[in-house]
């Protein structure tokens, strides 16, 4: 049988290379889509984990500040803890390199150069004396130094908050020798210098602990936590990576779900090509069974052929996935940095594990795609395989039951959602999956309904479309696959547009000041990047200034989540205009923030942590846990993890005194904004600040938004390419299978052009039906993504917006692509001479 398999496979390859190549392309694109997302997801975590590993080395535990620094007076207590053999104190400062385009941030580690920890300096000996005595001495990564053209002795101007610092390149330190995925922007300097230069006197960010052999990290962590109090958390490096993984979980799952749709469409393609091949090879299977092949052997033969197809697709899909991941690296990295404040992805690496997963997916997808038609053929006896009843006829008979199944999916999915949604935020994906699966199930009935249309008046494209039910199996699969891709495209397009419009409305409502000032490092360091009082004074003094509002920001833990905490002047006139509150009444809510010290929580936090007005939000600050009553919930699209908004006084009560991270300037009516921005920039030229107009800030927020969704564009295109390949595949099969039909038309007097148009009509019919069905499914999918998945999974309420003109253009492009895909098969079909009228039934 094995010998037969190879001969049969070689024969089919010779006979239908284009068809097999297209099916393999479907698998390749599906595997590529999933692999690229896996590589990017892994890269996002790998960058964080790699940096943790490189910096903390063999540490078993890390003591990290909650706010995020803590007093260094705690260090002796840490060192004295039984079981701790070594403790390495660290400061971590985000320093923006001035004038770097695109922006470049060094993560400057302040380390004890005399500590026993092994640091990967390049060169024979570390010039300790220079490192300790030369102001601003810093060792940078060799890769970054090469990239920037830095040499030992070069001076680098950086800023932290509004503070400017000059660093001197004193050596090279290559953390990638310790961990290949470590960030290339890590730099090292003496801890005392770092504390002094970056305004961290008496503060530490982290202490890495090496424990005695046999000491239990969990027990040491527990004892230390009790002894050191709420200003620190004691974690293992694995726990830190796991927290980062939790932060990214929703983002990663969303991308994974999108990429799986491409694999699903690829599987359909294999299903379609296997069905088509089996219609053609029914007799071959019948003969094999007649001469003694068992059902199992026939099944094995067909599945092995599918596996070969899957292997070919996987071989192409793996480099494709790697390439796609490289193409999307910058966008995904930007999102990970901007929205989740984690390490950006610098590179993706294709390990043996990922290759194995991709190969498994490709083979499994191909085999699963072929399983149903293969089982159908294997279970039949030789007599019925050799009889004239074809798979097409059976597909026709099963069209109505399949439609019934599609309809039944709706209440089933709603029921499953009702049961799962209270406990599982991903339950919305069940609805999305049902809406997607219903489309291919409805496709056979939709295609079959074409035969009920009145007879065409011309022998042209319309006639061709009406003949689609003749090869229902392959045309329904092509329509179904296209519909799934179009539904995904439509659903995601509507979702992205709805999101964009909602964000624009939100920005209109919340960005109300004329000029915004922050520091270059704010985007990375948030609360640790503060504006000096001098900046605020000059802002207030600028001509036309009416008022300056400030915002303090930090991170804290709420119910085990790292959330952003904002301090705002809640009592300032018009402060309530800063947000839109669920259920309205922002004025009263802000009054309670100012007068009673209550809190506003963002919608994502409210939904995920179950915090609603009347509850108390427990904020784990450096002075312990503070319970603050929730006055209201506000719409916020800036953070998926959630935000708590407090009055500045409440903020100071919990987190202590500190500088603001952002300031907003309100100008007098009639004062032109852009000239005021120019004046303020000149005024603050000696400070490390970023001055933006209202319009500039909005543009930057929208640019981040676009970057976040850019990755979906590639996935959507890949899904669509697979589906259009499905149209091409179906028509190539039809061109081959329906040669007798075309020959008859030619014999009855149809010109070659007419035969061409009839065939192109089939392509047009598949494209139109697929697009129509896809749009119906896409509308449902859009509703589910916007109203259910975003609300349950991310905690965002979005307004549903229908970008009709964009959708119409998309529909035109899809139909045109389908039509284009039909041209080559149409040319081939129209070449069928009338002499080829076979003895088979039409």
């Amino acid at each position: 049988m094995t010998r037969y398999l190879w001969r049969a496979a070689a024969g089919h390859l010779r006979g239908g290379f284009a068809l097999l190549a297209l099916s393999a392309l479907g698998v390749a694109l599906g595997v590529g889509a999933v692999l690229s997302i896996r590589l990017l997801n892994q890269g996002a975590l790998g960058a964080f984990a790699g940096t943790v590993r490189a910096v903390s080395g063999e540490a078993s535990l890390e003591v990290v500040g909650t706010s995020p620094s803590f007093p260094e007076e705690l260090f002796p207590a840490i060192l004295a803890e039984p079981g701790v053999t070594a403790a390495v104190p660290l400061t971590r400062t985000e320093a923006a390199v001035e004038g770097a385009r695109p922006p470049l941030f060094l993560e400057v580690l302040g380390v004890d150069l005399f500590a026993p920890a092994r640091l990967p300096f390049e060169g024979k000996e570390l010039p300790v004396a220079a490192a300790l005595s030369e102001p601003g001495w810093v060792a940078v990564g060799p890769e970054l130094a090469r990239e920037r053209g830095w040499r030992v002795g070069d001076r680098i101007a950086v800023s932290s908050g509004s503070r400017r610092v000059t660093l001197v390149v004193g050596g090279l330190v290559d953390f990638r020798r310790l961990s290949p995925l470590a960030s290339r922007r890590l730099a090292v300097m003496d801890i005392a210098q770092a504390q002094s230069l970056f305004g961290l006197a008496g503060r530490l960010h982290e202490v890495d602990l090496v424990l005695e052999k046999g000491a239990s990290p969990a027990e040491v962590a527990s004892r230390l936590s009790r002894r050191l109090g709420p200003s620190v958390r004691v974690l293992s490096p694995e726990q830190r990576v796991s927290e980062a993984s939790g932060l990214l979980a929703a983002f990663r799952l969303n991308l994974t779900a999108l990429s799986l749709v491409s694999l699903l469409v690829g599987g359909f393609l294999v299903y379609g090509s296997t069905q088509a091949a089996l219609v053609r090879r029914r007799e071959e299977m019948g003969l094999l069974r007649s001469v003694g092949a068992t059902r199992a052997q026939v099944l094995a033969l067909l599945l092995l052929e599918a596996a070969l197809l899957g292997a070919a697709g996987t071989a192409v899909g793996i480099p494709l996935g790697w390439l796609a991941a490289r193409l999307e690296l910058r966008n995904v990295s930007g999102t990970v940095e901007n929205l989740y404040l984690l390490e950006g992805i610098e590179k993706v690496s294709l390990g043996a594990g990922e290759v194995a997963v991709a190969a498994g997916l490709g083979l499994l997808g191909a085999v699963l795609g072929a399983l149903l038609p293969a089982l159908e053929v294997a279970r039949r006896d030789p007599r019925s395989l050799l009889a004239s009843l074809t798979l097409e006829e059976r597909t026709s008979r099963s069209a109505a039951p399949l439609l019934g199944l599609a309809v039944a999916l709706v209440p089933a999915a709603l029921g499953a959602y009702a049961v799962l949604s209270p406990r599982h935020p991903w339950a919305g994906f069940v609805l999305a999956l049902a809406a997607t699966l219903a489309l291919p199930l409805a496709a056979p009935c939709l295609v079959r309904s074409l035969s009920r249309l009145p007879g065409p008046r011309r022998f042209s494209a319309g006639y061709g479309a009406r003949t689609l039910p003749l090869h229902l199996t392959s045309s329904a699969v092509a329509v179904g696959a296209l519909a799934v891709a179009v539904a995904m495209l439509t659903g995601v397009t509507v979702m992205v547009e709805s999101f964009r419009d909602t964000v624009v409305d939100w920005l209109d409502a919340t960005i109300r000041a004329d000029v915004y000032v922050t520091t270059p490092t704010w985007s990375r360091a948030r609360g640790e990047a503060t504006l000096s009082p001098e900046v605020l004074r000059r802002m207030a003094a600028t001509s036309g200034a009416v008022r300056v509002d400030v915002v303090r920001q930090t991170f804290a833990r709420v119910r085990g989540r790292r959330v952003s905490v904002l301090g705002v002047p809640a009592g300032a006139p018009g402060a309530e205009g800063r947000v839109r509150v669920l259920g309205g009444g922002a004025g009263a809510v802000f009054g309670r923030l100012a007068s009673r010290g209550e809190a506003l929580v963002s919608e994502p936090l409210a939904r995920k942590a179950g915090l609603w007005p009347g509850d108390s939000v427990r904020i784990e600050g450096p002075r312990g846990e503070a319970a603050v009553p929730v006055a209201g919930v506000y719409y916020d699209y800036g953070s998926e993890a959630g935000t708590v908004m407090l009055d500045l006084a409440t903020f100071a009560r919990i987190f202590g005194a500190g500088g603001p991270s952002n300031a907003a300037l309100f100008l007098a009516p009639g004062v032109a904004v852009e000239p005021a921005v120019g004046r303020l920039r000149a005024e603050l030229a000696d400070e490390a600040v970023v001055v933006r107009s209202n319009r500039g800030l909005r543009a930057e927020v929208l640019a981040i938004f676009e970057q976040t969704f850019a990755v979906t564009r590639l996935l959507r295109v890949m899904g669509l390419v697979i589906a259009v390949s499905g149209v091409l595949l179906t028509l190539l099969v039809a061109a081959r299978e329906r040669r007798a039909e075309t020959a008859l038309y030619r014999a009855l007097g149809a010109t070659r052009l007419q035969a061409f148009l009839v065939f192109a009509g089939k392509g047009l019919g598949i494209s139109l039906l697929g697009t129509l069905l896809g749009f119906a499914g896409g509308a449902a999918l859009a509703g589910i993504l916007v109203r259910v998945v975003n609300r349950d999974f991310f905690g965002w309420t979005l307004e549903l917006h229908w970008p009709l003109s964009a959708l119409a253009l998309q529909a035109l492009a899809i139909v045109a692509a389908g039509l284009l895909a039909s041209l080559y098969p149409a040319v081939r079909a129209s070449d069928a001479p009338a002499t080829e009228l076979s003895r088979d039934a039409l």
Partner: protein, 240 residues
């Protein structure tokens, strides 16, 4: 003298086979079919019968010699012109009917009008009349798959006659039918061709059915022999 519908002059057809060998399906065939005449072609399988019909209809071109259909040299015409000539002047009936399963009985008959770009609704009256004539009037709206073999062939005959062709070519029209049905269909075909004034050339393996024609041609390894058919012979006997 009336101009012939079909005239073949020293027509040969040679097929190139893989490996460089060649196979002569027809050798120097010369024959004429006059208006309204019925010609039966007999011969073993592979003797060149179908090839002759392909050349006569302009579906294929001869390797050498000339085929004239209604006075036009098919060899001098391009594919499109031959197709248009076939569309307007030739009706084809096949052994395996070749009806389109997605169309009704009536729509199958109307396919040539559809291909010709004529409004099928205008042609419907004629199609229905043909179906009435072959006894299938009441079944015009039925799917063709519900018909028996004999009924399917009657539909195919109606399709071939719809555009009132001057030449009707039938390739073993009864080959897929039992003897009784075959005879009925053949008689019907001959009667309809006579009624419409069309010349009929049909291929058959049956001596009995060949005897119904005005002339009988016999093909042996691509070489044609002509002889008066059963009806012509009967007429000759009567005149004597």
């Amino acid at each position: 003298m009336t101009a012939p519908v079909l005239a073949m002059e020293r027509v040969s057809k040679v097929y190139r086979l893989p490996g460089g060998a060649s196979y002569a399906a027809l050798r120097e065939v010369t024959a004429v079919v006059g208006p309204g005449r019925a010609v039966a072609i007999t011969g073993r399988s592979g003797s060149g019968k179908s090839t002759l019909l392909h050349l006569a209809s302009g579906i294929d071109r001869p390797t050498s010699g000339e085929v004239h259909l209604l006075g036009r040299d098919l060899g001098a015409l391009g594919d499109r012109e031959r197709t248009l000539l076939r569309r307007s002047s030739v009706g084809l009936v096949f052994q395996f009917f070749h009806l389109l399963p997605h169309l009704s009985v009536l729509d199958n008959v109307l396919v040539p009008s559809l291909i010709a770009g004529l409004d099928p609704r205008g042609e419907e009256r004629r199609a229905r009349a043909l179906l009435e004539r072959v006894g299938l009037g009441p079944r015009a709206r039925q799917p063709v798959q519900e018909l028996s073999g004999g009924e399917m062939q009657r539909v195919a005959i109606c399709r071939a006659l719809l555009r009132e062709p001057r030449l009707l070519l039938a390739d073993e029209p009864t080959g897929n039918l039992d003897e009784e049905n075959g005879l009925k269909v053949m008689e019907l075909l001959l009667a309809l061709a006579r009624e419409k004034g069309a010349a009929l050339v049909y291929v058959t393996h049956s001596r009995e059915l060949a005897a119904l024609a005005d002339e009988s041609w016999s093909l042996h390894s691509g070489v044609l022999e002509t002889a008066p058919g059963g009806r012509a012979a009967a007429r000759e006997r009567t005149s004597r």
